[in-house]
Amino acid sequence: MAFLLLLGTPLCGALLLGFYGARRWAADLNVGVSLVTFVAACALTAQVVSEGPLLVGHEQFFIDPFNVFLVTLTAFVGLTTSIFSRPYMRVEMTHDRVAAPRLRLYHSMYQLFMTTMLVALTTNNMGLLWVSMEAATLSTVLLVTLYRTPASLEAGWKYFILCGVGIAQALFGTILLYFAAEKVLGAEGGTALLWTHLNAVKGHLEPTVLGLAFVFLFVGYGTKVGLAPLHNWLPDAHAEGPTPISAVLSGLLLNVAIYAVVRCKVLVEGSLHSQLPSRMLMAFGLLSVVLAAFLLWRQRDIKRLFAYSSIEHMGIITFAFGMGGPVANFAALLHMTVHSLTKSAIFFTVGHAAQKAGSQLMEDIRGLITLSPTIGWGLMMGSLAILGMPPFGVFASEFLILTTAMREQPWATPILLAALGVAFAAIFGRVQPMVFGETTARRLPHPPALLPVFAHLAIVLMLGLYVPPYLADWYRAAARLMGGQ
């Protein structure tokens, strides 16, 4: 019941907003739909916590500790982003950047995007996972190009082609996976692509084919994670689209893509009994961290800056999942949570800051603290949090990842530390004058919604100081699941 509500609400919302998305109350309806989705996600979580893993709809969907926490996180950030987007899009309308009819597309696609992500997270079918990942790309292409500026069209085209081609490789990987599975599970009944069935027989799957399949699946979904060297689409898509979309792309879509990679890794590792998947994850993760840390220095656009920071953090998470083991998996899950909350909070403040300054270039944004103390402090706190300053949650997860790396992969620790240092200097050096410099900008026509920013940062702070026992149990259960037990 809660499950039907979870997928049905955003889908119905997308249809409704497709008709009425241009009305004055459309933004409120958007918030309402997201709220119902979030409540459904909470109910579902309660159900899974009390009754254990759930299989729904002829086993096509399943919910276990690993995906249910991502579902809740997705629904929560979806809700706060819709709250943020309400005044933000109104200001954009007053600034004549979007016309009212285009908001219909915006609201409808926003809910459709939420639907595809929730389907991707909850589906048990590796084929449907691919279908919903592709649908997530398609539903956001037109959102990236919402402003119809030359730069946004270019970003949208890059996003479409690179993710389309990348994800085509994942389809090939899925075909190979089906090819190997069909021999063990048989083509009858269509169970050969169901993850739960595959997981039960993963030791019997043909290792050569699965190794090949993993390479394709990893490259395909890795493109969506934004791992170097396939990251080119990510900064453009984040910088040129409307800020609420940057927040959900960075905070949610990347998580969903990592989720897909990890699901595949669990299967392949069980079949291969070798280090290949782990090594690939570690290598690409580390490469992304280093590359992103240095590219941070060359950025002039504030949204591109934080987009590169997302690549860096995705690299850290991928590296941690690559190391494997209960502690590293736990840390990676915690990092996914805090990154998603912190990064979307940063994009919320950045969005309002850019609206105030009338530009996304960092040299034009100055003196946020005098203009609007809440935006200034929000950006400062958010940046400190994302840079891994204690006592925020990112510190806790990065600390865990680094200490595990010291024990398991000592060679990687200095590289990681150096990259984190470089990234710290790059981001802090840019944010400091933006917050404290001199300014002449004017007030915004609609008061910004900063409640989501501080709600996110408060949760991140809490996770840094204290992880509630039920949440810790939940992470541990998910980490065990990834260990293949």
Partner: protein, 239 residues
């Protein structure tokens, strides 16, 4: 049935024609013809699926043959032709590599594809396993098409032909994917083309052209500009 039965020979003929068509696409610069070639590719896929359905007696293959006919032979080419007419893009500009150079690259790609497909084909139990190499070759040749083209329209045709190659690969390795997945993929492809249609009009409105060199300003540093192919596709090919 023996490996030389008549229907299997027909199937292998279809596979060979598919490979030939991919080379024809690689060489073709007229966009209208490119779309027609794509439609013929779809038709061949339809015939191959039908033959396979008849041979194996699997009901879902008839369904997916019907889906191929409706989507890849009728609907997509029709949509693309309509787009071409309304946007008036008939010719691609000179490709980045001249035709004979592209053909040579294509030949190497085919050799590589057969090498890649060998371990899979060795494990396959389907009668069509010899065609897996061809499917991989079609996928990779479509990559080459996408990389060497400048016009957005020809890149899209390359993209769709890659999807055809994937479909053919799934068919020859495992007699097709589960029905629900095939429907989902078909839906995605259809939506992709519709989204692109909208998208092309936006590009057109903004630049008065569908040439992709307009879409190359977003580089790391604004001072760094050269007339390179769109980078994303290139970096993908390395894998």
């Amino acid at each position: 049935m023996a490996g030389t039965s008549f229907d299997l020979q027909l199937l292998n003929l279809c596979a060979a024609l598919l490979l030939l068509l991919s080379f024809a696409m690689l060489a073709q610069r007229r966009i209208v013809t490119l779309v027609n070639l794509l439609a013929i590719q779809g038709a061949l896929l339809f015939v191959a699926t039908l033959l396979l359905a008849w041979r194996t007696g699997e009901r879902h293959l008839y369904l997916s043959a019907g889906l191929t006919l409706a989507l890849k032979v009728v609907l997509l080419p029709w949509l693309l032709h309509r787009l071409i007419r309304r946007l008036q893009v008939y010719w691609d500009t000179e490709p980045l590599l001249n035709i004979s150079g592209t053909m040579l690259v294509g030949l190497l790609v085919v050799v590589f594809a057969f090498g890649l497909a060998q371990p899979i084909a060795a494990l396959a139990s389907t009668a069509t396993r010899s065609a897996i190499g061809i499917a991989v070759a079609v996928i990779l040749l479509s990559f080459v098409t996408m990389i060497t083209r400048r016009k957005a329209m020809s890149q899209v045709v390359g993209f769709l032909s890659m999807e055809n190659g994937l479909f053919f690969g799934a068919m020859s390795a495992t007699y097709g994917m589960p029905m629900i997945v095939e429907f989902g993929v078909a839906l995605d492809v259809l939506v992709a083309v519709l989204v692109l249609g909208v998208f092309f009009f936006q590009i057109r409105e903004q630049f008065d052209s569908l040439d992709l060199h307009h879409l190359e300003s977003l580089k790391e540093s604004p001072a760094f500009k050269k007339s390179a192919p769109p980078e994303p596709v290139q970096s993908v090919q390395e894998h």
